[in-house]
Symmetry: C2
Subunit: 492 residues, 2 copies
């Protein structure tokens, strides 16, 4: 094989990096903490983005674009939000370079071109958007505003990981404005459901819908809802969040509307987002030691066809058949590539497309042609089958559906097996260290206890599931009374 991958057992973290780099999803860049999303990774993101975008539009949302910069005075207007992001802000202070008088050909910052007010590069856009909404909302007739934007944001993280935590990342952020609390709450949950639908039915990633504790809430939100997924190393990953912002931003930016009785009221808000981080989740939830395993519905390439031949005559005959197959596959909207590059041998190609997680591989040789068959390998289980060339496109189409379902089932089984109850501190620590996954345990409801547990174990409360069962119990740390279990985990 051309590219070695560290095994999960040997070093899970290195395995992940190997997959991202060698699977050609992304690359490091010359900028601290920023990555380059490579064409293959970006094609995956395009499929995810386009699917989500369709779902947003189907639920009545429209796209817009707001400035990259937030003037400091706006940034600090909603104090909790500002405080939450202040420590990781990239700040623009100057707007011009000039020739360095001491070094020919070099440039220095022109200190005369200092901004009167510093500009923050958006870590999230509530401030700039709500400052804009102030001009757009006067009456209840202007509501709701259901706006989304696809954008880059910057959060100056100290420890970065490709896709999972980068200084700059791509995301979408929905920002909606409503006349009533009920409507805003309904929107918050609706978008959480959209995210869960997307994660489960497109990414084959089972998620738990829940609400965050106060400690883990988005800075400036009244409530943060989330979808939480489980990775193969037993760590959780927050895959998307939907925030009920109450009237916090409306108050900070003085956004009022006159209701039907002509009374002035503050507007209710939500915001919700998912990011390129989802690609990290996808990689870690499904892949194996041979490389990526991508769900057919969003895989850039769904099928690759590799010819096995000696000499031009065999090649010509195979080409002819393959072109027929490609035409049939394309008629079914299947994304297919014929790799007849003769610089690489079939075995090398097999390994390469396994690495890249292409769901289905067809290998076809001269003998296969004679017998009117083709070898079909599925990436998820690595099963191979020799099937008739008659109706092969339909076979592949069904197989892609099977793979999608199987990937979800497998991830769900693993996830379900990794939700474990702990009834005392000893059990809790042991589960965390030996099994991982979500641990359902009683907690006394205080931020102090949550913080203490985090300090002792690095585990956090991932969420209180939406459909949570009520059950009397005692907090695993303090022994104080509790009315329900919450889900703890170590997390990305």
């Amino acid at each position: 094989m051309s590219k070695e991958i560290t095994s999960r057992a040997a070093d899970y973290s290195q395995w992940y990096n190997d997959l991202v780099i060698k699977g050609e999803l992304a690359d490091y860049s010359a900028v601290r903490g920023c990555m380059v999303i490579k064409p293959y990774g970006f094609a995956l993101w395009e499929n995810m983005r386009d699917t989500l975008d369709r779902m947003f539009k189907d639920t009545g949302h429209v796209n817009a674009y707001f400035p990259l910069f937030v003037p400091k005075s706006l940034f600090e207007a909603e104090e909790k939000n500002a405080e939450g992001f202040a420590k990781e802000c990239a700040i623009v202070t100057h707007y011009r370079l000039k020739a360095d008088p001491d070094k020919k050909g070099k440039l220095i910052v022109d200190t005369e071109a200092k901004l009167e007010e510093e500009l923050i590069i958006r870590p999230t856009s509530e401030a700039i958007i709500w400052n804009t909404y102030k001009g757009w909302i006067q009456s209840y007739r202007d509501l709701p505003l259901l706006i989304n934007q696809w954008a880059n944001v910057v959060r100056w993280e100290m420890r970065t990981r490709l896709f999972l935590r980068t200084a700059e990342f791509l995301w979408q952020e929905g920002h909606t404005a409503h006349a009533t609390k009920e409507e805003a709450l309904e929107e918050t949950i609706k978008m959480l459901d959209v995210y869960a639908d997307f994660a489960e039915n497109w990414m084959a990633l089972p998620v738990i819908k829940g609400v965050k504790t106060a400690n883990e809430r988005f800075a400036g939100a009244e409530d943060t809802y989330c979808i939480e997924a489980l990775m193969q190393d037993g760590k959780a990953l927050q895959a998307g969040t939907s925030h009920f912002l109450g009237q916090n931003f409306a108050k900070a930016f003085d956004v009022k509307f006159s209701d039907k009785e002509n009374k002035l009221e503050y507007v209710w808000a939500t915001s919700w987002g998912v990011s390129t981080r989802l690609i990290g989740a996808l990689v870690m939830a499904h892949s194996d030691d041979q490389g990526l395993i991508l769900p057919p519905k969003i895989a850039p390439l769904q099928v690759v066809i590799v010819p096995i031949y000696k000499g031009d005559e065999q090649k010509t005959a195979i080409d002819k058949k393959v072109n027929e197959i490609i035409k049939e596959l394309k008629a079914l909207s299947i994304r297919v590539k014929y790799d007849d590059n003769d610089n690489a041998r079939p075995g090398w190609k097999f390994a390469e497309y396994e690495m890249k997680g292409v769901p289905v591989r067809l290998a076809i040789g001269a003998r296969d042609l004679e017998k009117n068959v083709v070898e079909i390998a599925r990436r998820d289980t690595k099963e191979k089958n020799v099937v008739s060339l008659d109706g092969v496109a339909q076979y592949v189409n069904v197989l892609l559906g099977d793979i999608q379902q199987n990937m979800f089932n497998k991830a769900k089984l693993y996830r379900d097996e990794h939700i474990t109850q702990a009834n005392n501190w000893g059990e809790f620590e042991k589960l965390l260290d030996e099994k991982g996954g979500f641990i359902a345990a009683h907690w006394d409801g205080t931020a102090e206890t949550e913080e203490a547990i985090k300090e002792k174990t690095k585990a956090t409360i991932r969420c209180i599931p939406l459909d949570n069962q009520q059950e009397e119990g005692k907090c695993i740390l303090t022994g104080n009374p509790s009315s329900q279990r919450v889900l703890f985990a170590r997390a990305y």
Copy 2:
């Protein structure tokens, strides 16, 4: 009418701003020189972007994403490029805010969080991309790289105009790498042709393909090709550029490849881009004193249907018919909206959709229903026709094609009538001041003369047309010999 628009004759510049703001394409923001692209404007941009994206992919390009930031040391590596953009760079110098000890609830830049090396917000991405390509290119087998990115860029312009010139704007930038000069030149022209195709066949905007003089070249390019369009006030607008970069960036970033003979050679490069500026061109080329006129192929809404009724009974009957029409229109992939909002009267709606440039309006009342007819108004000519409801969808479909063609023809007629020859300085000045448009005149080929003409008249050489006729003559300013006319104009 609800919204007054300044007429072109009264104040062209104000007319343009009125259209952008009142047509709801964009809004001013709290950030100096940055705009908010509103949902209607963004839907227009999405149609433009998606069309271009398809054209790029059809010509073998793939998308990727590179960092927003360029470390200063990389930025200055290609000296001409750096010099060209140094004066308009937004510069990140710090990465943290902290609480202001003197003002509760306020934040200040944390001076301890100063970056060791300043980061430039990309004004264009050659530097960061070629620094990345260095790691991706070793052999001729790695070439060509045909990569595009859709991104925001920042150029700190002192005088800004919505869409035409903003500090932050959205664009695409293609960056390709090739083994030979010929291949890079071919790519440069190929993408120029893609831009011209898009401008003419989608935006209904006739353009002249040409090459820039050295003065007007992209900083760091060997040659800059461009498409130039003409606005209704007689000023030209550069609508897209495609640069042949030679080996300048390969040399600056030391990007070499081993060719088939195993010899190390520098890589050849192109870059090409169009931006949200195109929306400004679209507005100014086609619109009138009643509002926007959008070409059907990229209009967010192609058809609006307005019911005219008294009472629920009439409304119900109209609704039923309209739903049938909508179904038929949608079957033809026509973007249609039924505006039955009863808060506004038909006359108000008519003016509103004229303002927004919706190509076709259907108005249908109870009497029309009885007669099995509908009134169809086209936005471009404002003609109205009463046509039979039988086959109305097909009628509209043909009409949309007519409008698209008519808009192009009209703009082309105007453009062609505004390419005028000037044979001496007097004619040149008179044409510039009294007629405007492109002026075809002899020029002695020196940068000094070009600069002198610009200082005297504000006219620049827009381009030397690709198919330019060779003709002996004398420079309009210096009288020195010239072998061809070039196109001058005042420009946006």
